[in-house]
């Protein structure tokens, strides 16, 4: 059967089932304009579609009924039983034709002239009372159907019997609309059943050779299947959220004189209807962005050597219990420089920091509220609302969104969302004797911290950070967050690395247990206000445990901002940016120190990781180099002035630099001051290790080249003659 016809039949049958009731109600409440409009619309829709499908007989009847209903709406006719009877007869006739259509895919023989004539009589009747009180209708409504005439031979009243005789399920019966509440209730009940099953399983497992073992196993199997089946009832293909997109893209390409084709893959990917609803708007928005900002006009594309027709690929697939949606366009990509500029303009990041940020990080600003890079506000996008809403919508259902872009090649948005919200995969953790569940989707990795590794945890103003592969991960001790009892003597603990939006933090817990599928239950009104929890669940042994909400925890602990700032600053220390930063005239903080040269020396404070003082006793000399055990690693210490003998000082001030993967200490004679000034290099210096001379705080000051020292400290360890300055000079040239 033709898809269009099938849809028409399903939809019409549903509408008609309601129509009978509505018409009867209308008869009882003639003044119910809303209902009258509803009835009119239904008939009108059927009529319209009939014309489209070439179903002339159906169209004729529907048209006549529509005219009568229209007259009712306009007040030219009044609701009276005889009239309603005729309308119902028309509905019956429509149903009859629909049944025949379902069976034969063609309208049945015959005509409905008598019925249509009867309906038309109403339109021409002049003896209609123009005003009629509601009461008489009420008195008469007891037998409205009596007024419905036995329909003429051509259109016998439909009683559904022929269909039942047929036996095989017709189109309209093979699918069934079920109220969402019923499905939710089912889901709940099955959840309960699964909990009971878990308890039984534990009981059965505790006894050896239990006679229950077999039936429990059977129950387990059936429950699992049932759970899956019920989950499926809530599942809908993601294509349902895509239906409007082809039209959207078509309209956009017309209005902006672009050629865009939308290619969709994986429309059949199922996911929970709740989630489907949640992603519908974000998806629409991102497709719109791709079409409006991403894909260029044919002229530009031609000039860039690309096909005039731009393509947006939209795909969905299942991946490890999640659904991954990708939107890939082959457009211009995102102008990172512009994003960087806007971010600075909007005060999201300081200019000097922004310069040092890697592109991937700059792109994240797009998800900040009120951020738009569109130079012009079009009627489609560029109003600066959207991407932040996209992200918050996706965050709300526990999903993640990533964005990557290549200039001139296009942009890729990758969304990862859970399959369902009702049952989630969660990691059970323990702290202070309590158990908690952490949704698996928010977890990036687990880190076990033994006593020896405590050095990797740093304290900054009371906040803790963990040095995880060259990034500083803010730590949130669950114990403190939930104000649980302090425990003493715990030397090994675990960090659950969580991702919330773009931010990462480490949730510190005592123990990590196992991963379980858990049924999420709401926490009720007394607890609902606590952002730390996403719900609660009942474990296999009947305990109630709380489900932690990483997003809520991040907001309580305010780690999101710290993390971004920290990462930003770290990246900004990238030494290769130093020269550029110094050459532009901007006020910045510099650290002044004395290295035993005639002039004072300076280094931008943004490049300094920290200041230390090392006693001679901790300096270890190996192979002509000085090394210090620093934060669990060996850090080379280099004298700022080659003539300085580190062995001769008791307590040596050291400036610690680090770029992304190298750390070093620069030993100096004395640290003098931190000043803020415009740093403008007046003269380039010939001496290696000095960028040039600038006037800082009224004095000629040498600005040192941290990059040189970093290379010196790390690179030169490979060369055989460490004291040879000539060898050192070669390195920057080669690099």
């Amino acid at each position: 059967m033709d898809d269009l016809l099938r849809d028409f039949l399903t939809e019409s049958n549903e509408n008609l089932a309601k129509l009978d009731n509505d018409i009867v109600e209308l008869e009882q409440h003639p003044g119910d304009i809303a209902r009258l409009n509803g009835v009119f619309r239904t008939i009108h829709t059927i009529k319209g579609t009939c014309g489209f499908l070439g179903l002339t007989r159906l169209e004729g009847v529907a048209h006549a009924a529509e005219n009568v209903l229209d007259a009712l709406r306009a007040g030219r006719l009044d609701v009276r039983p005889e009239l309603i009877g005729d309308v119902l007869a028309a509905v019956d006739c429509i149903k009859m034709v629909l049944v025949a259509l379902e069976q034969t895919e063609a309208e049945p023989e015959g005509d409905d002239l008598a019925l249509i004539a009867r309906l038309e009589v109403w339109l021409h009747s002049t003896d209609q009372p123009t005003a009629m009180s509601a009461e008489p209708v009420h008195e008469e409504h007891s037998a409205p159907r009596e007024a419905a005439p036995a329909t003429d031979a051509a259109a016998p009243p439909w009683d559904g019997s022929d269909r039942r005789k047929n036996g095989d399920a017709s189109v309209s019966e093979s699918t069934l609309r079920v109220a969402v509440e019923v499905l939710d209730k089912l889901m709940n009940l099955v959840g309960e059943l699964a909990l009971g099953r878990n308890q039984l399983l534990q009981l059965a497992a505790s006894e050896e050779e239990s006679s229950f073992a077999k039936p429990v196993q059977q129950l387990d199997r059936v429950t699992t299947d049932l759970l899956e089946a019920v989950m499926k009832t809530r599942m809908q293909p993601i294509g349902n959220a895509w239906t409007k997109l082809p039209r959207l893209v078509r309209d956009l390409s017309h209005s902006s004189d672009k050629q865009i084709s939308l290619v969709m893959h994986g429309a059949e990917t199922d996911l929970d209807r709740q989630i489907l609803q949640a992603i519908q708007d974000p998806l629409t928005h991102m497709i719109r962005n791709s079409a409006d900002h991403g894909v260029e006009t044919p002229a530009i594309r031609r000039a860039a050597g690309k096909a005039e027709m731009g393509t947006i690929h939209l795909s969905a697939r299942h991946e490890g219990g999640h659904v991954v949606i990708e939107i890939v366009d082959d457009g211009a990509g995102i102008d990172v420089a512009r994003v960087r500029r806007k971010a600075i303009e909007r005060g999201l990041v300081k200019a000097d920091v922004a310069e040092g940020l890697p592109d991937a990080q700059v792109l994240r600003f797009i998800f900040e509220p009120g951020f738009s890079t569109a130079e012009q506000v079009t009627n489609v996008s560029g109003r600066g609302v959207g991407m932040d809403v996209v992200r918050s919508n996706i965050d709300a259902i526990g999903g993640t969104v990533e964005l990557s872009s290549q200039p001139g090649r296009g942009t890729t948005v990758r969304i990862k969302i859970p399959l369902t919200l009702a049952i989630i995969s969660a990691l059970l953790v323990g702290t202070a004797g309590e158990s908690f569940a952490v949704p698996q989707i928010g977890i990036v990795e687990l880190v076990r911290v033994t006593e020896e590794q405590h050095a990797l945890v740093e304290n900054v103003h009371g906040a803790q950070f963990y040095r995880l592969r060259e990034t500083l991960l803010p730590l949130v001790p669950l114990r403190a967050l939930l104000r649980l009892e302090e425990a003493d003597g715990i030397d090994t603990y675990n960090i659950v690395v969580c991702q919330v939006g773009q931010a990462r933090f480490g949730l510190v817990v005592d123990d990590v247990f196992d991963t379980q599928e858990i049924v999420v239950k709401p926490v009720g009104r007394m607890i609902k206000h606590l952002p730390a929890y996403a719900g609660c669940t009942i474990t296999g042994d009947g305990r109630v445990i709380m489900i932690l909400d990483p997003a809520g925890i991040a907001s309580i602990a305010q780690v999101a901002s710290t993390e971004t700032r920290d990462e930003a600053e770290q990246a900004a220390r990238a030494a290769e940016r130093a020269r550029a930063a110094l050459q532009t005239e901007s006020k910045e903080s510099v650290l002044l120190f004395d290295a035993g040269f005639p002039a004072l020396q300076a280094v931008p404070l943004s490049l300094v990781a920290r200041l230390e003082e090392f006693p001679l006793s901790v300096m270890e000399e190996a192979d002509g180099h000085f090394l210090v055990q620093y934060r669990g690693a060996l850090m080379p210490v280099v004298a700022a002035n080659a003539s300085m003998d580190l062995r001769s000082v008791e307590l040596c001030p050291v400036i610690v630099f680090s770029d992304r993967n190298r750390t070093m200490g620069l030993a100096v004679k004395e640290i003098r001051d931190i000043v803020e000034d415009h740093v403008q290099l007046q003269r380039r210096a010939a001496r290696p290790g000095v960028l040039g001379v600038a006037v800082i705080a009224g004095r000629a000051t040498e600005v040192i080249d941290t990059d040189h020292f970093l290379r010196h400290a790390h690179g030169e360890t490979l060369t055989p003659c460490p004291d040879d300055e000539q060898a050192d000079l070669e390195i920057p040239v080669a690099a």
Binding site: E192, M526, A532, Y533, C536
Partner: protein, 158 residues
């Protein structure tokens, strides 16, 4: 607990109401029997960190989550003796189950409506908010508790 009396709709205000009585410290209180779902002996309660003080935690009643409210804390009574017995009066309120933790559950008593007097103005404001009336009995006073109001005392605003 029998629910046969539930058929009497509250709206019609029968001449008398039945109350489940319970004790907190040395005060007896009553809740209309039709609001009470069941009475439980002490159950394992999973505490909820950061929850309001009187919210003792959650208990698992045949797969349903029940919020346990320690009425001693709600009504600012002192703590129980360690090891003292606790009973739970489970009520259904606006689709949610709550377990009131009390010291002892007494009989179901029938009280004529005209015997329920307004609470004295001298009563502690928290108690006045939680109770709608007072009944003089031979064995002492019985305060009629308003489930909705007592829960409101604990409900975080906003």
């Amino acid at each position: 607990m029998s629910n046969t009396t539930m058929s009497a709709p509250a709206a019609r205000m029968p001449a008398q109401l039945e109350y489940v009585t319970f004790r907190l410290a040395d005060q007896w209180l009553g809740i209309p029997v039709m609001l009470v779902q069941e009475v439980l002996v002490a159950m394992r309660i999973a505490r909820v960190p950061l929850a309001p003080d009187a919210i003792a935690g959650f208990l698992n009643l045949r797969g349903q989550i029940v919020t346990a409210v320690d009425l001693r804390k709600t009504l600012r009574l002192g703590p129980r003796q360690p090891g003292a017995e606790i009973m739970n009066v489970v009520v259904l309120q606006e689709g949610e189950l709550f377990a009131f933790m009390v010291d002892e559950v007494g009989d179901v008593v029938s009280v004529a409506n005209d015997l329920v007097e307004p609470t004295p103005v001298t009563l502690d404001p928290r108690w006045r908010a939680a109770c709608t009336g007072i009944v003089r009995r031979e064995r002492g006073l019985l305060l009629v508790m308003n489930v909705q109001e007592v829960l409101r005392l604990e409900q975080p605003s906003g």
